[in-house]
């Protein structure tokens, strides 16, 4: 009996201390709403999507397996793995998957190097650098849909910049990049690079500014050239920032949607869909919630698998 009391007593005081500090109060006040909201809007829909995926269901009724009292039938129909099989054999889905991979590749191979170059040029504090940082960051602030609309006008061969350019080059036919395969998707890729490199640049600037200036001074005294400083000191010290940037680039690439819709709406002939715009078009617009859920599950599994792998390999050991 006595021993038991001994064990409980200190933990109780610890608990009381927590309460007295106000920490527990904070936890009790702030955590439940967050968990509630997260569960309602993130966890539940994810579970739902998983449950809806094996059904053919138009979205009428609360859930596909509920009995519709008016008709005496269930709202949806169990189709097992058919949604997944159809998805994997659908040419537009394959194209959407390839396009998503393209977004990720371009983000990593083109966008991040550009962002890095810019960051290296303007990371030092000065008035002119602040102005450039603002200019390069501006595209990131703009709303995606607005950006998409602007570029759909710019790339229009009837009255946009594309027409002026075609006239300038003396072509007798104006160039309509958004109506041509594969140009339509290349245009979207270009806009993605233009819009998001500022975001990565900011991550790199923050990383560069936190590099200890003594290290750079030491290098200078040792006679290191600019390029040597960049490749042998700055980039290695920036590694944590780069891994974060790549992480955002991949997850962001999996989510591209709002630029695609106003620019091409997935066209011409479903050649410029990303996974998410494909999900929206073939799941929601065509009232096929079960199929859309199957695509959603695929997207989710891909995202989680990547995040898990990446965290445990590249980002291992980083806090």
């Amino acid at each position: 009996m006595l021993a038991q009391n001994d064990i409980i007593a200190p933990s109780q005081t610890q608990f009381q201390r927590l309460f007295a500090n106000g920490q527990l109060k904070m936890v009790l006040i702030f955590v439940p709403p967050a968990i509630l909201v997260f569960t309602m809007f993130v966890i539940l829909p994810m579970i739902q999507a998983g449950l809806f995926a094996p059904y053919k269901w138009s979205g009428y009724g609360p859930v596909p397996w509920a009995l519709n009292e008016v008709t005496g039938k269930d709202f949806g129909r169990w189709v097992g793995s058919q949604n997944f099989e159809r998805m994997l054999s659908h040419s537009a889905f394959k194209q959407a998957f390839i396009n998503t991979l393209l977004v990720i590749t371009v983000s990593i191979a083109i966008q991040i190097p550009i962002a890095m170059t810019m960051a290296l040029m303007i990371y030092k504090s000065s008035r002119i650098n602040t102005i450039f940082r603002l200019i390069f960051f501006l595209p990131y602030i703009m709303a995606e849909v607005a950006t998409g609309l602007i570029f759909s006008f710019v790339l229009d061969g009837n009255y946009g910049l594309s027409k002026s350019f075609s006239d300038l080059m003396g072509w007798d036919k104006a160039f309509f990049p958004l109506a041509e395969k594969p140009w339509a998707f290349y245009c979207i890729l270009g806009v993605i690079v233009w819009k998001y490199f500022g975001f990565h640049m900011m991550i790199f600037i923050a990383g560069l500014q936190s590099i200890n200036s003594e290290v750079l001074e030491a290098a200078k005294i040792d006679g290191a050239k600019t390029l040597q400083t960049v490749f042998l000191i700055k980039l290695p010290l920036l590694w944590p920032s780069i891994t974060i940037s790549v992480f955002y680039a991949v997850l962001g690439g999996l989510q591209v949607f709002d630029l695609v819709m106003p620019m091409t709406a997935g066209g011409p002939s479903n050649s410029s869909h990303t996974l998410v715009s494909y999900l929206y078009m073939f799941g929601f617009i065509r009232l096929n919630i079960g199929y859309g859920s199957a695509v959603g599950v695929f997207l989710f599994v891909t995202g989680v698998a990547f995040a898990f792998l990446y965290r445990n390999t590249v980002q291992r050991g980083q806090s």
């Binding site: 053919k56 138009s58 979205g59 009428y60 009724g61 609360p62 519709n68 009292e69 008016v70 008709t71 709202f75 058919q82 159809r86 537009a92 790339l155 229009d156 061969g157 009837n158 036919k173 104006a174 309509f176 990049p177 958004l178 109506a179 041509e180 395969k181 339509a184 091409t264 709406a265 066209g267 011409p268 002939s269 479903n270 050649s271 073939f282 929601f284 617009i285 065509r286 009232l287 096929n288």
Partner: protein, 417 residues
Amino acid sequence: MKLKALALISTLALMSGHAAADVEIDVLSINRDSATWKQMYLDLVEEYNAQHDGVTVNLEFMEDESFKQKLPTLLQSDAAPDLFFSWSGGVFYEQADQGFLRPLDDVTAAEWQDELSAGGMAALSYDGKFYGAPEASQNVAIWYNKDIAKELGLDPTKIETYDDLLGMVKAAKEAGVTPFTVGGQDKWPLHFFYSLLAMRIMGQEGMAASAAGENGGFANEDWVKAGEEFVRLIKLEPFQDGFMGVKYDQATGIWGDGGSLFHLMGDWDLGASRAAASDGGLSDDQLGVIPFPMIEGGKGKVTDTLGGASGFVLTRNAPDEAVDFLKFFLGEKAQKRAASEGIYIPTAPSAGGLVEDVVLKQFAGIGGASTYHQLFLDQFFGSELGGVINDVSAQMATGDITPQEAAALLEETRQFQ
């Protein structure tokens, strides 16, 4: 203080008493951008409310796309309207199939079939039951620009066969004129070509057989032939430059600005192209209309029509008063007004003759002489198979798939339904 409380209580009592006696009918329409159309709705509602004590009709408008998006959830909620606009077709079938709509009793249905057109009522029927009343009838035909035709020395009224049409497409192309404008990004304007070709080739029976999965469903030689004929047109590069990057409303603006010789579109395009064109669009004198021509050896008729039949349908919990209002709202009187003001082409046969607008009159004529009216295929076959019809029409237009592949894709989708 006491007095105030008493006054409050009596006011509350009055209000609740009022609410109990009153039947509210909520009507949800899509946006009526045309001012005369909207005004007619408002007038009708006001008139009905004035004539009927104890019944209040609330009319609400919603933008097309958000209407489509919200309807599934709205219909399942307590806030479901009693009457709502419907394009008929697959979405409507699904609503009826899932029991969200209220069928009309047999007497009313028979009466309306007689007065408001049997064809229109048929579009709003499912599994032998009727769920609403038809409003406007829409038909697709080939519009042509008389000025351009004259310049080129062509007379589109002489077109009888599809080969004649292709001949004129070639002639226009050689003269440097764009034969057709089309909003390829929306896909459905392209599916009109494929649909009409299929209708001319297989006729009403062939279409019904495909829908029922007979003769191989869609994987038969008629559908392949329809695709091949479509590809023959595509090979001539009949569309404006960059047609796959343009939506319908932009395309019809180009047409309204005199950008092409032909335009395959429905009667609603009259208002739409004038609104989208930069200078008011083409005048009545400049516009000509011809039916889609016949294909030699086809089983269909040149008088078979493709189009829509929109209307309003009743929801499951709609009160009897809603049926009465619907009769008034889309009844003969209203349709006659719509016809004489040139608002839309009414379905009611008694009102059809009242259309005065020169252009709409031609469409009313085409609709009136219809031997078989086919609902837009992308609506008729439901959102999924309909969506695939749009997809394959666009893919054939860009040369991505062959007519055989298109037919196979359609059949595969049909089987999954």
